[in-house]
């Protein structure tokens, strides 16, 4: 009996401990997680930090001094480049290890290894669209270049040194929550970060939906509704710029340039309004007589931030800016002589090709009038708690067949055509880090131009300003040479005429230097006017932000850093300026009730700014959305077929120029509607909705109340984000804040003999929610302020902003 009792007691205790040591679903192993000895309590950082810290690291060649300022931004001073990138890897890992791990896991299709089966679809998508294939090609390109090989390997060694000396109690909290361990870093992980950027910025497409459009509406309507150049435009390269080169012959369109459709087929949807701003004014417009450059890339806003601020100095370089955690070099920043930034180009670098297989074995496909061999690549996807999945992906010369059949394709990927091969520039061998390596060390315009030639994807509008008073802007990247509209629709993969025909030569890519207007700018709009001889894409971001930027810069004189900072949070709506007068003019106010007239009065008096306390902004935004939906929803919302809605720009044109267009007719009603009917109907629906949700016009109608803005933790962990906050701004405004997306880094750099940088991102340098530097810059960013960036000239320069010093010594 006493044995049984003892046995039972020990068994119960062991089971209890086992249960507390095991992860159940999303619940972390509670004993392990809550234990103060190894669990999350260990991640609570003390406010009393050491003023000086010395570490011995093997792998270093000499001593490295890292000075941390009041935001815990590191300023690295190394005696050689190897040590510079080694310590960049080391300290980035110290602050952002989990982010580095999860982002590369996501890109490489390895989430299921830690999250189990629920991550399988997203993993398969990343594998099957060729993220690993592309990263393998890129890392091959990187390793061929001895400089970049050194950089990537030193960075990798630095990260690994940190990981190898990390005790379990010091694992970042997310490892403890998800119950897994960090693994060794590899150079290919740096490439995966580039692929992730390409996926975000150049990995969506609407060719499947456009092909359906063509089938459903016919060529005439599609040409009318999806024109190749917008109604409203203000291109990046100023209109009238002469092209001083002899263009290559444009490829001939193929015979049947649109493929037959097999079945209802959708890649990651193209997200409209993804974008960024940059501009630079020449010395003639600035108070100091030297250029000022501004950049704010719009991306998903997360804690930790996608960016990591850093100053990096060695005998060959001294640069300040933001880096991507997990990748060497500074991506956007400045040095003593130059500054640069980026926005997305949105060139068409992703195309779909219909494949005809010989038989069900799918070993051969028809191309160029003969059967060609299909390459099969086996992707092994490990799944936590289950057997691994072996997934065979078919590759034609174009690239991977992302989904073989509809049954293979998950529901949320319905914009990916099945049975089609993907040709994507991010699959190609490339060496993007060389661009950043050279820009970090750039001294003048010639260095800038040379650096750009190394850049493949995702194509970016590289803006430039230097202390020699040059400003420039280049929509840059590897851009395929195509016939007009090639890739607007899915193409026949058997016809070689549909292949990409080489590349637009780098020296013929659009570029502008020191234009007479005294400034350059980009906001994802069309790169050029219609005289540019090459086809880049048929659609770009709408012109609203660009037009507002150009309007403001045109009249700007004696500008200061502050003038440009204030511009970065400008919330004036060009769209409201373009369409609100027509909406109001076309609205038959005799049909409105007293309540509705009151709302109309507010809209009429509105100053067109999307300020947090603006009621007019809420009214206009709802009205325009409803107008858009009511105009197109009847034709384009189709249960059986994915269709692509016409653009905002085309809708504006329809409203202003074609009030009697057939598209205004609601085909679900017996009467024939005109534009004015839709204007009235959408206005009444707007007032109904706002009254219903928020009562009578008042504080609850304010834009900051109506529209939620937030910054979530990268893994959406509750409590680790910012929570909802009130803010002005919206997509299509310079301050492009919407939902959890917006200005991920705001930077303004004043060039001159003493370069001065200002910048901020929403978040903090540390990725640890238990750090005082996890979100310490959030409020500055939210208030539209910038921090003066501490740009030290040498390790010996004294600054009272330096709070702690970390010395990395070479281990003997």
């Amino acid at each position: 009996m006493k044995f049984l009792k003892a046995f039972l007691s020990i068994a119960i205790t062991l089971i209890f401990i086992w249960a507390l040591n095991t992860k159940f679903g999303d619940i972390p192993p509670l004993g392990k997680f809550l234990s103060p000895a190894v669990g999350f309590w260990q991640n609570a950082e003390s406010k009393h930090s050491n003023a000086a810290e010395n570490l011995l690291l093997d792998g270093l060649q000499a001593k490295v001094t890292i000075q941390y300022d009041e935001h815990r931004i590191p300023h690295i001073f190394a005696e050689n480049d190897h040590d510079l990138y080694y310590s960049q890897g080391y300290i980035t890992a110290r602050d952002r290890l989990w982010q580095m791990d999860i982002q590369t896991r996501s890109a490489s299709g390895r989430l299921a290894e830690i999250a189990g089966r629920k991550a399988l679809d997203i993993d398969r998508y990343h594998r099957r669209m060729g993220m690993v294939y592309g990263a393998e090609n890129t890392v091959r390109g990187m390793m061929k270049d001895p400089l970049i090989k050194m950089v990537a390997e030193a960075y990798t060694d630095g990260v690994n040194n940190y990981i190898h000396h990390l005790s379990k109690r010091d694992y970042p909290i997310e490892f403890k929550l998800l119950d897994y361990a960090p693994e060794d870093w590899k150079p290919i992980n740096c490439a995966f970060l580039l692929k992730l950027m390409s996926e975000t910025l150049a990995g969506g497409s609407d060719q499947f939906a456009m092909t359906n459009n063509l089938k459903h509406f016919g060529a005439k309507d599609v040409n009318d509704l999806f024109p190749d150049y917008p109604f409203h435009e203000d291109p990046i390269i100023p209109v009238g710029t002469k092209w001083d080169f002899k263009p290559l012959p444009t490829p001939k369109p193929s015979a049947g340039f649109i493929a037959q459709m097999t079945d209802s087929i959708k890649p990651k949807e193209r997200v409209p309004g993804i974008g960024s701003n940059n501009w630079a004014i020449s010395g003639s417009k600035s108070a100091t007589g030297y250029p000022i450059l501004a950049n704010d890339p719009h991306l998903n806003l997360t804690f930790p931030s996608i960016w990591y601020q850093i100053q990096m100095s060695s005998p060959t370089v001294n640069v300040y800016g933001v880096s991507l955690p997990g990748a060497p070099c500074v991506v956007i920043g400045f040095n003593q002589k130059i500054s640069w930034g980026v926005t997305n180009v949105d060139a068409d670098v992703l195309d779909w090709y219909q494949v005809r297989f010989k038989d069900n074995t799918r070993n051969e496909y028809w191309y160029s009038n003969k059967w060609n061999k299909v390459n099969k690549r086996i992707e092994v996807i490990k799944i936590r708690g289950q057997k691994p999945l072996y997934d065979t992906v078919l590759y034609t010369h174009h690239g991977p067949v992302v989904y073989d059949s509809n049954s293979q394709r998950p529901k949320d990927q319905e914009n990916i055509p099945t049975g089609n091969a993907l040709r994507w520039v991010a699959h190609d061998e490339s060496d993007e880090f060389m661009t950043f390596y050279l820009l970090n060390r750039g001294k003048d315009y010639a260095d800038y131009r040379k650096a750009l030639t190394y850049f493949t994807a995702p194509a970016q509008n590289f803006i430039f300003a230097d202390s020699d008073n040059d400003i420039a802007l280049t929509p840059n990247g590897k851009i395929p040479l195509k016939f007009k509209d090639q890739g607007k629709f899915i193409m026949d993969g058997s016809d070689p005429a549909n292949d990409w025909h080489g590349w637009i030569p780098y020296d013929q890519i659009p570029t502008v230097k020191n234009p007479p207007r005294g400034f350059v700018s980009s906001a994802n709009q069309s790169p050029t006017d219609q005289t540019y001889p090459y086809y880049i894409n048929w659609q770009f971001g709408s012109y609203d932000r660009a037009k507002r930027i150009n309007d403001l810069l045109t009249v700007m004189q004696k500008a200061t850093v502050d003038s440009l900072r204030i511009m970065q949070t400008d919330d004036y709506s060009m769209r409201a300026q373009d369409v609100l007068p027509t909406l109001i003019k076309d609205l038959d106010s005799s049909k409105l009730s007293k309540n509705q007239l009151e709302v109309l009065q507010i809209a009429k008096k509105w100053d067109k700014h999307f300020a947090a306390n603006s009621i007019g902004a809420s009214i206009f935004n709802t009205w325009w959305q409803k107008f858009y939906e009511m105009t197109w929803g009847d034709e384009f919302e189709n249960k059986n077929m994915l269709l692509n809605y016409p653009s905002i720009d085309r809708t504006e044109q329809l409203l202003i120029k074609e009030p009697n267009s057939k598209w205004f007719d609601d085909i679900r009603t017996p009467v024939r509607e005109t534009g004015a009917d839709i204007v009235l109907r959408s206005f009444i629906a707007t007032t109904d909705e706002l009254h219903h949700k928020y009562g009578n016009p008042g504080k609850k109608w304010q834009w900051g109340q109506v529209r939620k803005v937030y910054i979530n933790h990268l893994a959406n962990i509750p409590g680790f984000g910012s929570g909802n906050f009130e803010s002005g701004g919206n997509s299509s405004l310079i301050n492009a804040l919407r939902g959890g997306n917006g200005p991920s880094w705001r930077m303004v750099v004043q060039m001159g003999p003493q370069v001065k940088g200002y910048g901020v991102f929403p978040g903090g340098e540390s990725g640890n929610p238990g750090s005082f530097y996890y979100a310490d810059m959030f409020k500055t960013w939210k208030d539209g302020q910038l921090n003066e960036l501490l740009f030290l000239k040498s390790a010996n320069e004294n600054s009272d902003r330096i709070k702690t010093i970390l010395i990395l010594n070479k281990a003997k």
């Binding site: 006493k2 044995f3 009792k5 003892a6 046995f7 007691s9 020990i10 119960i12 205790t13 209890f16 401990i17 507390l20 040591n21 509670l30 004993g31 392990k32 809550l34 234990s35 103060p36 000895a37 190894v38 669990g39 999350f40 309590w41 260990q42 991640n43 609570a44 950082e45 003390s46 406010k47 009393h48 379990k168 109690r169 909290i173 962990i717 509750p718 409590g719 680790f720 929610p769 238990g770 005082f772 996890y774």
Partner: protein, 113 residues
Amino acid sequence: MLFLIILILSFAAAYFLPWWAVAIAAFLAALFIGKTMKESFWSGFGGVFIVWTSLALFKSIPNDQILVKRVAQLFHLPHWTLLLLVTAIIGGLVGGLSAISGFLAKKAVSSKD
């Protein structure tokens, strides 16, 4: 006495991995000097409860509770002190159950009875 020994051993165990080293501490202490089941449980529970509370506060106070407040939200707890309490109770239960096991094991092998 048992309480004091478990308290001291649990403190020491916190410097070793894994986290369940406290269970071994409580088990061994009760195995050698446990007198009754009740005493063993409460000594184990109390010892680890106090050690975990102290160690947690030791990390959390200089942190101005910023991390524990965030983690409390993650567990949908209205106040961070509840998370501290949950931590301490889980630790206490591990300690208490282990001590009982130690005591019962002692009884099972002891010749008296």
